[in-house]
């Protein structure tokens, strides 16, 4: 520069710089003279292919992305803060809304943390644990179906999109039957489950397995061998094992880099050590490999679901400890799921003690001994960790969710920089971020 922006003069305290404005004419002139097509593009936060309100800031040189950064926080709803003002059971209603595509995983991870602090891990009835596994695996299937559907849609493969949502609908129907809601269930509670499986649920799950086994090969036919699909996905969003380890990547992205790390095998929870399933891996480190792994994981999940059904034995679904077990019994009425009339008749009509007990537990809640616990489960997107801190009160002192979408989204820059603009869409889709989980 011929004219320095900062002139300096010597004082007794050392040199003092006087900074003046840059010479804008010079800068604009230089920009006009430059023969590159370097521009900064703001993609999002309202863009159909950024999976919710993700904002991507791309510096592009022609068709090449030279720098990529992600801006997040547009869906921050302060759930972690809110939990500190609700009792331990109410929190499940909140955490299920974090990563809304894997609500049952959020609920289960949170409940495992609370149960560890309560020291009742061993007392959770088998039936409750088996139903948790059953629902989590169904949830994994529905989450992966959304990934395939939206990822396909972004490539213009609308048949895949329609097929994905068609099959997901079957899972949501099961969820509606079992939990009363298609999403945001609040069905898994500290100590067990809100209620038992309703009549007909097992048959519907069996029917689903049959249909899904028939439908899954359609994705292979449509996508796996499809030259256009392969051309868009192969070698795109490359992140090798070194990169994955440095960036703390877990889930299908890590497994596509060749490491068979799956918490269901490594640190089994909910009795996963008793189920037979395989952990698929790949060695391509690209978006196509991640697609294949998710496809295979759905098949493995179906295997686990089938084993769950065989394992289901009649029994309670809530711990026997009446100081923890939610007293309200739910039943299906004409206006949906609500308090069972029999239960209300009992507490209002015949047993004052039952009424007091119900009132105390529902308004005040139970106390959790002081301490902290970390419960981690393998969610559809990787390690979902919940750090729960209690001060011995009826409310969580602090709950932190280590959401896999949040961690994995950090790899966006590494996957996209140096690639084509069109490949950004594919790379982000292969991370499968859900902004509800990223921002919480």
């Amino acid at each position: 520069m011929s004219t320095p922006e900062a002139s300096s003069r010597e004082t007794t305290e050392g040199p003092v710089y006087t900074v003046t404005g840059g010479d804008w004419d010079e800068i604009t002139e230089a920009a006009r003279q430059a023969d590159d097509e370097r521009i900064v593009v703001n993609m999002g936060p309202q863009h159909p292919s950024t999976h919710g309100v993700l904002r991507l800031i791309l510096e592009i040189d022609g068709e090449t992305v030279s720098e990529a950064r992600a801006g997040i926080g547009y869906l921050h709803t302060g759930i972690e803060k809110n939990l500190e003002y609700r009792n331990w059971t109410q929190a499940t209603t909140f955490v299920t809304r974090m990563d809304y595509l894997m609500g049952l995983h959020n609920e289960t991870a949170y409940c495992l943390g609370v149960e560890r602090l309560l020291g009742i891990e061993e007392q959770i009835p088998d039936r409750a644990t088996v139903i948790r596994v059953l629902l989590m695996e169904l949830n994994r299937i529905s989450s992966h179906l959304v990934y395939i559907a939206t990822g396909g849609m972004e490539l213009g493969a609308s048949t895949i999109a329609i097929f994905g949502f068609r099959d997901r609908e079957m899972v949501l129907d099961i969820f509606e039957l079992v939990t009363g809601l298609r999403m945001n269930h609040a069905y898994v509670r500290p100590g067990g489950l809100a209620q038992d499986l309703p009549p007909g649920a097992v048959d519907q799950v069996r029917e689903f397995i049959k249909k899904m086994r028939r439908n899954l090969p359609e994705y292979d036919k449509l996508a796996t061998g499809n030259p256009a699909f392969k051309a868009r996905l192969q070698d795109v969003g490359y992140l090798d094992l070194t990169g994955c380890m440095a960036l703390g990547i877990t889930g299908p992205i890590l497994r596509a880099a060749g490491l068979p790390h799956d918490l269901r095998k490594a640190q089994p929870y909910c009795g996963y050590e008793n189920y037979e399933f395989d952990v698929p891996t790949g060695d391509t480190c690209d978006a196509y490999g991640r697609f294949l792994i998710r496809l295979e994981e759905m098949k493995q999940s179906l295997r686990i679901v089938e084993q769950c059904l065989d394992r289901l034995q009649p029994g309670p679904v809530m711990v026997a400890d009446k100081k923890i077990a939610w007293p309200a019994q739910l039943a299906l009425g004409p206006d949906g799921l609500g308090n069972s009339l029999d239960h209300i008749k009992k507490i209002m009509g015949t047993s004052m003690e039952a009424l007091i007990h119900h009132f105390k537990l529902v308004t005040e809640g139970f106390r959790v001994p002081p301490g902290q616990a970390y419960a981690a489960i393998e969610s559809p997107r990787g390690e979902l960790g919940v750090h729960v801190v209690s001060d011995g009160g009826t409310r969580p002192y602090r709950v932190h969710f280590r959401d896999p979408s949040f961690s994995n989204l950090q790899s966006m820059a590494a996957m996209c920089e140096g690639g084509q603009v069109a490949d950004v869409i594919v790379a982000v889709a292969s991370i499968d971020p859900v902004m509800g989980g990223v921002d919480r």
């Binding site: 803060k81 602090l117 001994p369 960790g385 009160g393 009826t394």
Partner: protein, 247 residues
């Protein structure tokens, strides 16, 4: 409330404690009646809140038990590796807590980076993955109000440990471990955003969730939740932070 898991008697004996625990606050009264009008006599109840204190050897393992276990192995290797570097382990590791089958090292903040690097690189430790950092604010824990909690996972040895670092409200600085675990980049920004913990050495410590010009740190205990009363079926339901709290 907390039943011990069934098993042989010696397995049910918890690890011995040196002290009674870390007092993080005092709660008074009961039933959440804060302002007068309490004629029950329970209003004079005083309860100190204590987090589990330091454990003594042997630490056992994640499945419990009072015998030498996985946790002792990690502690031995870490202490040995720190000694090799000319560090007195007692200075770096303030205390070791085993609670609910989880191992926590409380690390002096000036040694955090060295300890993290040792945990990652020592072949016997190999904690390759840091699952991020979680902040906790204990306004009653004078001089160590802000805690940063890290969970480290070793895929090689299939272990999980927790590091805890504290900083006073008046000097909320903790060294950044992004240079050891790049995965912590966003996590440290998040903890800074919500707790005001400044991670020294972080490449770009800016707000990540809240708007850039936000004032205050929302997840601190003295930061109000906010909210407005709502009417439901004719009744006024107060805002969540105005409702009766039993804690």
């Amino acid at each position: 409330m907390s039943e011990e898991p069934a098993g042989p008697a010696e397995e049910r004996v918890p690890a011995q404690r040196e002290d009674t625990g870390e007092v993080i606050g005092v709660r008074r009264g009961m039933f959440g009646a804060k302002d007068g009008g309490d004629t029950s006599g329970y209003g004079r109840l005083v309860r100190t809140v204590q987090l589990p204190g330091a454990s003594t050897r042997p630490y056992g393992g994640p499945r419990g038990g009072a015998a030498y276990g996985d946790f002792d192995e990690v502690a031995d290797e870490l202490e040995g590796a720190l000694e090799e570097q000319g560090l007195v382990p007692e200075n770096a590791i303030e205390k070791t807590v085993v609670h609910r089958g989880e191992l926590t090292f409380h690390i002096a903040r000036e040694h955090l980076l060295r300890v993290a690097r040792t945990l990652r690189d020592d072949p016997a430790l190999r904690f390759e993955m840091c699952t991020g950092v979680s902040g906790v604010h204990y306004p009653g824990d004078k001089g160590r109000e802000l805690h940063a909690v890290y969970h480290l996972r070793s895929i090689t040895h299939n272990r999980l440990i927790r590091l805890e670092v504290s900083a006073p409200d008046s000097d909320p600085h903790v060294p950044s471990i992004v240079e050891v675990y790049p995965a912590n980049d966003w996590h440290e920004r998040e903890t800074y955003d919500f707790f005001g913990l400044v991670f020294d050495g972080h490449p770009a410590l800016t707000r990540i969730m809240m708007p850039d010009d936000w004032q205050g740190f929302p997840q601190r205990k003295d930061y109000p939740l906010g909210g407005i009363p709502v009417e439901y079926k004719g009744a006024q339901i107060p805002a969540p932070d105005q409702r009766r709290s039993y804690s």
